[in-house]
């Protein structure tokens, strides 16, 4: 695929977009304010990848290279402002949640809390958490993308989780029930986890 992309094959680029489009967009969403900004940033990232694909020498895997380019763009865009809460109308729930507004609201609330907690982390810790926890990359891949040793990735993750635990303790681990967002307060249980009886049973 790389060779065909370097040769300018449209089919190869379509294949490439299918493979990495959603991942890049997801990463961009973490570093931008709105979904529209994330889409613009994703477009910029793919255009930049398209320009630089001929300079790709295969010294790392394609995925690592794509993530590295994408993360550089995201870090540049990050300085503009902190990401806002995602607009409710912009984010549609999964099909199973469409008939369950309580569950959807609980998910939204948890997403906000997680976003806030991630934002409170330092940039280095946040990058590692996003890449490893949300994108499922290994320590070695995170180290290659961020240009840091694997041991640093490990220590950053450990420290980040310590802070996340402190930051989310009131919500996830606290003794008091989490107060739902006033605007979304209903008779439903306040937390996301209590809204998932199957998860609780598990």
């Amino acid at each position: 695929m790389i060779t065909r992309m370097q040769a300018g094959s449209a089919a190869a680029f379509a294949e490439f977009v299918d493979a990495y489009g959603r991942r890049v967009q997801s990463l961009a969403r973490r570093y931008t304010r709105t979904t529209a900004d994330a889409e613009d940033l994703t477009q910029d990232i793919f255009v930049d990848i398209c320009r630089g694909i001929r300079q790709f020498r295969g010294e790392s895997s394609l995925g690592t290279w794509v993530y590295r380019v994408a993360l550089n763009h995201c870090l540049k865009a990050q300085g503009r402002s902190r990401p806002e809460t995602v607009e409710l109308e912009a984010e549609s729930g999964t099909p199973s949640e469409e008939g369950n507004p309580q569950r959807h609201l609980a998910r939204r609330e948890l997403a906000d809390k997680v976003d806030d907690a991630l934002f409170d982390l330092t940039s280095g810790h946040r990058d590692v958490v996003i890449l490893h926890e949300l994108h499922g990359l290994t320590y070695a891949e995170c180290a290659a993308i961020l240009g840091i040793p694997v041991g640093t990735v490990k220590s950053r993750l450990s420290n980040a989780f310590g802070r996340l635990r402190t930051r989310l303790s009131d919500y996830v681990l606290g003794s008091e029930p989490v107060t739902p967002h006033p605007e979304t307060a209903t008779a439903a249980p306040p937390t996301f986890f209590t809204a998932l009886p199957e998860r609780a049973a598990k």
Binding site: S26, R30, T42, A111, V114, S158, L173
Partner: protein, 451 residues
């Protein structure tokens, strides 16, 4: 009820005492530890409730983050976004130069340069295989040039004497007659075209200085050679050399026989043989054994002999004229003294010239051969080497025997040392025993005498 209400953060009292373990809990959860470290953590978790709680909390946070992530990377890309990306990529690629516009050596540098190098290598190998005479012809041409150079530098009169190579000497029938005689005889079988043309040019266009050559009509060449022969029996070979030299009318100038520390003998002989016998003698010496080194050189001394002959003739005539004047014309006393001194000087120079001429004639008559005889290395008694299982067993047996002999040798050597020093320790031992007995006897007597 909140599922995670029971997951309390460990207090200081219940916290894990091992910070190293706590630092690796996340990596343990992500399966990013080595097997040994993973087992260590697992063993620790069975005993540490605080770490188990920490693991549970981490799992909870991870699940919570993944559940809350509305933009999951694993989901499919929105079709509108996909179309947008593909459109922007298509617009971008249309502005970029296509890869095909780049030259092949930029697109595939390894293929181009590696293939080119391989092509040149294959071409050279095929050329060496298919045209094996290429190097030989070049070598022949080089040798021809060398001979031609030798011929040019050995100009009959103008040169100062030149070294002839063996090829040159052997290529001229009757080498003592020189290349010109060979040309006149019409027998240039081994002379290269370059040499032939050079000699023909000299034969057609003789210089004015060729005229005095009439004093020495034949070319005079002093030949020298050295040969190193490996022989079985050195004394016998040395004897053969001496007999052959005497039979040829020559003589042995020196004969040095040496024996080195390892018992090998060598002999260096310097023999002088008639020039006409040079080649035969050289062949005889080479036939004594295996020739390991040899060299032959020739020096044209024709010009030097001609000069010496002319100088002798001029000096003789000058001396005779001076002597005649002294006898016939008295003159003043001062003139007489002057002519006597002049006559003395001329006669001295005449004697020196005659001596030099005699030496040159001797050189032209006798060739020098340095013969180095070395005794062949005696082959050690070779033990048949067996291969395979029997060979291994034989080698093992030999090594075990050697080890046993070494082990036995140690006490034997010790016994020899003890015996060698027996004049010291035997009297001392006897003296000690005597003293001990005396002491024991004294004690016994004392106990008897005691009340």
């Amino acid at each position: 009820m909140n599922l995670f209400m029971n997951h309390r953060r460990p207090t200081d009292d219940t916290a894990c005492p091992s910070p190293e373990i706590a630092a690796d809990l996340k990596a343990y959860l992500d399966n990013e530890l080595s097997l040994l470290r993973r087992r260590t953590i697992a063993s620790h978790l069975r005993q540490c409730a605080a770490c188990r709680e920490e693991i549970t909390a981490m799992t909870t946070i991870t699940d919570g983050m993944k559940s809350a992530d509305t933009a999951t990377p694993a989901a499919a890309l929105d079709p509108a976004m996909r179309h947008r990306l593909l459109s922007s990529i298509a617009a971008e690629t249309s502005t970029l130069p296509t890869a095909r516009t780049l030259p092949l050596w930029r697109r595939k540098p390894l293929l181009v340069f590696g293939g080119g190098a391989a092509y040149v290598g294959v071409f050279l190998i095929l050329a060496a295989v298919l045209f094996p005479t290429f190097g030989t012809s070049r070598e022949r041409a080089r040798r021809g040039d060398t001979v031609a150079f030798g011929a040019q530098s050995s100009a009959p009169v103008n040169g100062n004497g030149a070294e002839y190579s063996e090829d040159f000497a052997s290529s001229i029938p009757g080498s003592s007659n020189g290349p010109r005689a060979a040309l006149q005889a019409g027998a240039p079988p081994l002379i290269s075209g370059t040499l032939k043309s050079a000699l023909e040019e000299r034969a057609v266009k003789p210089s004015s200085q060729d005229v005095p050559l009439g004093l020495v009509t034949e070319r005079q060449v002093h030949r020298e050679g050295s040969v190193t022969v490996s022989v079985d029996k050195l004394e016998a070979a040395s004897e053969k050399v001496e007999q052959a030299v005497k039979a040829s009318g020559g003589f042995v100038a020196s004969n040095n026989l040496n024996t080195d520390g390892s018992g090998y003998k060598s002999a260096d002989l310097t023999v002088r043989v008639p020039v006409a016998q040079f080649d035969d003698m050289f062949k005889q010496f080479a036939a004594l054994g295996n020739v390991t080194a040899k060299s032959i050189s020739g020096e044209d001394i024709t010009e030097r002999m001609s000069d010496a002959t002319q100088a002798e003739q001029v000096l003789r005539e000058s001396a005779e004229a001076t002597a005649r004047k002294l006898r016939n014309n008295g003159g003043s006393e001062k003139e007489i003294r002057y002519r006597e001194a002049d006559l003395r000087r001329v006669r001295i120079e005449l004697a020196q010239t005659q001596a030099r001429l005699g030496l040159l004639r001797k050189m032209a008559r006798l060739a020098t051969i340095n013969v180095s005889l070395t005794e062949k290395a005696k082959k050690a008694a070779e033990t048949p080497v067996k291969s395979g299982f029997l060979g291994d067993m034989s080698e093992t047996n030999r090594m075990a025997s050697a080890a046993f002999a070494s082990a036995v040798r140690v006490p034997v050597v010790l016994i020899i040392w003890v015996l060698a020093f027996s004049p010291l320790w035997v009297p001392m031992t006897l003296l000690y025993r005597y003293a001990s007995r005396r002491s024991a006897a004294g004690t016994k007597l004392a106990s008897i005498d005691a009340p």
